[in-house]
């Protein structure tokens, strides 16, 4: 396989505003929160915004954030938890707010990530909800990350393909019932990879610091590249890869290695 037939890949991390990345040396000592994005952008061309999962996006806050990044810098934004993990009957109102809030980002937005909880299985109600959610976010580039194994079905992949929605490829610990790592491309415009780390014990804990505490070895990433990334790159025009193992700045360390590996 020659590099000409492989699509370009942008590498970044899930979130950038971590105080512990100062302690761990990714950010220079004394870096304050407002300065982080600008410094981050010197190492990576894209970031996945995960604070948008915790709080509903607000246009004014998004505008302020964009102003701190270079013009060519790109973003992926997570969908708010009130539409994935804690949804209620008024979810359509939440979609409306999200659409309005994310608008200033549109020019630099690569994709909206819909990360569904592990309890979200392939039930009739959930399928119905997901279809409506995708409809209501029509017009935005979308990617769906399943956590439940029951979604591994050709019919699901075919539907995503029909809607031009990206199926997220995940690298996670080998936990029973978890959606597996697949090299399926459902949207030829974009593939989307998330590295969560392989800390099996931490994954089952409630503590985010344990869940994402993992450092990939160079060999693991090289092997992953050959097994999964190359097939993905052959079937899409562009790809994004995010490292979510943020603890002790392992994500940017792995991300930097991954970038170098792709250049070779």
């Amino acid at each position: 396989m020659t590099s000409e037939t492989l699509c370009p890949v942008l590498v970044g991390t899930s979130g950038y505003s971590y105080t512990e990345w100062v302690d761990s040396g990714f950010y220079p000592q004394g870096t304050r929160t407002p300065e982080m994005l600008n410094i981050y952008a010197r190492s990576f061309p894209i970031v996945e915004l995960n604070y948008t999962w915790y709080q509903m996006v607000r246009a004014e806050a998004i505008s302020r954030m964009i102003s701190k990044a270079p013009e060519e810098f790109l973003f992926a934004a997570k969908l708010t938890r009130t539409l994935t993990h804690e949804r209620d009957r008024n979810w359509q109102q939440e979609v409306k707010k999200y659409r309005e809030g994310i608008r200033p980002l549109q020019r630099q937005l690569t994709v909206i990530l819909i990360q569904l909880p592990s309890s979200f299985d392939w039930s009739r109600n959930n399928r119905y909800y997901l279809a409506h959610l995708l409809d209501s976010l029509h017009g935005f580039p979308l990617a769906v990350e399943f956590r439940h194994v029951s979604w591994v079905r050709d019919s699901v992949f075919a539907e995503l393909e029909k809607r031009h929605v990206t199926l997220v490829t995940v690298d996670a610990p080998p936990v029973r019932g978890l959606f597996p790592c697949l090299d399926v491309v459902t949207n030829p415009d974009l593939f989307f990879v998330r590295f969560h780390g392989r800390n099996k014990q931490g994954w089952q804990s409630e503590n985010i610091q344990k869940k994402f505490d993992y450092c990939y070895t160079d060999e693991e990433l090289q092997q992953w590249n050959e097994q999964y990334l190359n097939p993905l790159r052959r079937n899409a025009d562009r790809g994004v890869v995010f490292f979510n193992n943020h603890v002790r700045a392992q994500a940017p360390a792995n991300g930097k290695f991954f970038q170098e590996m792709l250049l070779q």
Partner: protein, 394 residues
């Protein structure tokens, strides 16, 4: 390192607590009112969001509130229950940080989680987990906000209440506050807002454009606070919850609301004796006295006075309490009750007498206090009081 302050606010706290205990209260507007229903002194202590939307406000007379929201159910407040709920709230969050500051049975908690990221992760994740945990364990659903100071976090919570969350990034305090109306800035009195409006200033950002010198003219000492607050600067620390037993309080409720300074002063003097006696019984010294005046409209004014080394001497404590009264007195609204809180208790050192030479006056005072304590032990509290406490109508 930028500070990370989480503000958790259970809106309409008394209502939320009452609704946990009695699910039938969830289906209609609810007013919690102190005083006797039907009497003019009954005022609104708290109200549900539905009643608020109908125009009911805290401190409003119950008669008026009833006219605004006829469908409301009315129940008396149960401060003990709210205190217990606050204690449960603190217990639910304390393992994330020892720096937890709580309000007085009002559902407000501030947590300083600066530097805890290695243990628990980023502040938004902590706040989200706390909310989830409090909802599951206590049935309370707080608004949460994160900012670099208590002041900005409080404003952020006000922006989203009764439900939601708000994260104000460090360094964004000024731009966050600028478009908001002056009434959103904590600590501003109605009179100060009126003065600012007379200058045609209506937004916090407009206030922030004024220099310290400009603010000094109309606001004197307060100008400095307005200058800092309008820029989102607040360096006050999150004061941890005092350890159990580190404070106690005594209260006097006036038979009729009063505007007489002498009457309130006499009540305070009587409370001082209760505080002093309690300290002596515990063999402790009090280092801070906080005086809270509860007004007829339900609002509270409070001031505190500290004394290095502490004291259990009624005469010393009385001077401290009167000092606080002198500072807090000023609202032109009648006083309904006063509460004297003794804080920062210190064990009395048995060796103190070896090193401190007492004046003749102090020795006389001690003899008087000892005699008063003996009389009170025999004939009950209040059987003898200091001279200026006699004017209290009991």
């Amino acid at each position: 390192m930028d500070r990370a302050i989480i503000h958790l606010n259970v809106t309409d706290f008394a209502v939320a607590v009452e609704r946990i205990g009695d699910s039938s209260l969830r289906h209609s507007p609810l007013i919690v009112a102190s005083g006797i229903a039907g009497k003019s002194r009954a005022v609104v202590y708290d109200m549900s969001e539905e009643a608020y939307q109908d125009g009911v406000r805290k401190g409003m007379s119950l008669q008026q509130a009833n006219r605004y929201c006829r469908a409301a159910r009315i129940i008396p407040p149960r401060p003990d229950r709210y205190r217990r709920a606050m204690a449960a709230l603190v217990k639910g969050v304390i393992h994330y940080t020892p720096l937890v500051e709580k309000g007085e049975e009002d559902g407000h908690l501030f947590l300083d989680v600066t530097g805890t990221h290695r243990l628990f992760g980023p502040a938004p994740d902590i706040a989200w987990r706390l909310r989830k945990q409090l909802a599951a364990d206590l049935g309370l659903d707080p608004v949460w906000s994160i900012a670099s100071s208590k002041l900005v976090a409080k404003v952020a919570s006000r922006m989203v209440r009764p439900f939601g969350e708000y994260i104000v990034g460090a360094g964004e305090e000024h731009v966050f506050l600028a478009p908001l109306p002056l009434s959103m800035l904590p600590g501003l009195t109605a009179e100060e807002i009126k003065i600012l409006q007379d200058f045609n200033l209506h937004r916090i950002g407009q206030l922030a454009e004024l220099s310290r010198r400009q603010l000094l003219v109309p606001f004197r000492k307060r100008g400095s606070y307005l200058y800092e607050a309008s820029r989102g600067r607040d360096h006050t620390a999150v004061r941890p919850v005092p350890e159990k037993g580190d404070s106690f309080s005594v209260e006097h409720i006036f038979e009729e609301d009063t505007a007489s300074y002498t009457e309130v002063e006499a009540a305070v003097a009587m409370l001082v004796h209760g505080v002093g006696r309690s300290l002596r019984r515990r063999n402790m010294l009090g280092r801070r006295l906080k005086l809270v005046l509860v007004h007829a409209d339900g609002k509270k004014s409070q001031r505190q006075v500290g004394r290095k080394g502490g004291s259990d001497n009624d005469f010393v404590l009385r001077n401290m309490a009167f000092g606080a009264l002198g500072q807090v007195w000023g609202r032109r609204v009648r006083v309904r009750s006063c509460v004297l809180i003794c804080e920062h208790l210190l064990p009395r050192s048995p060796q103190q007498a070896l090193f401190v030479l007492k004046s003749l006056r102090e020795e006389q005072q001690e003899k008087i206090i000892t005699a008063m304590d003996q009389i009170c032990s025999r004939f009950g509290d209040g059987s003898i009081v200091l001279g200026n406490a006699c004017e209290v109508r009991v």
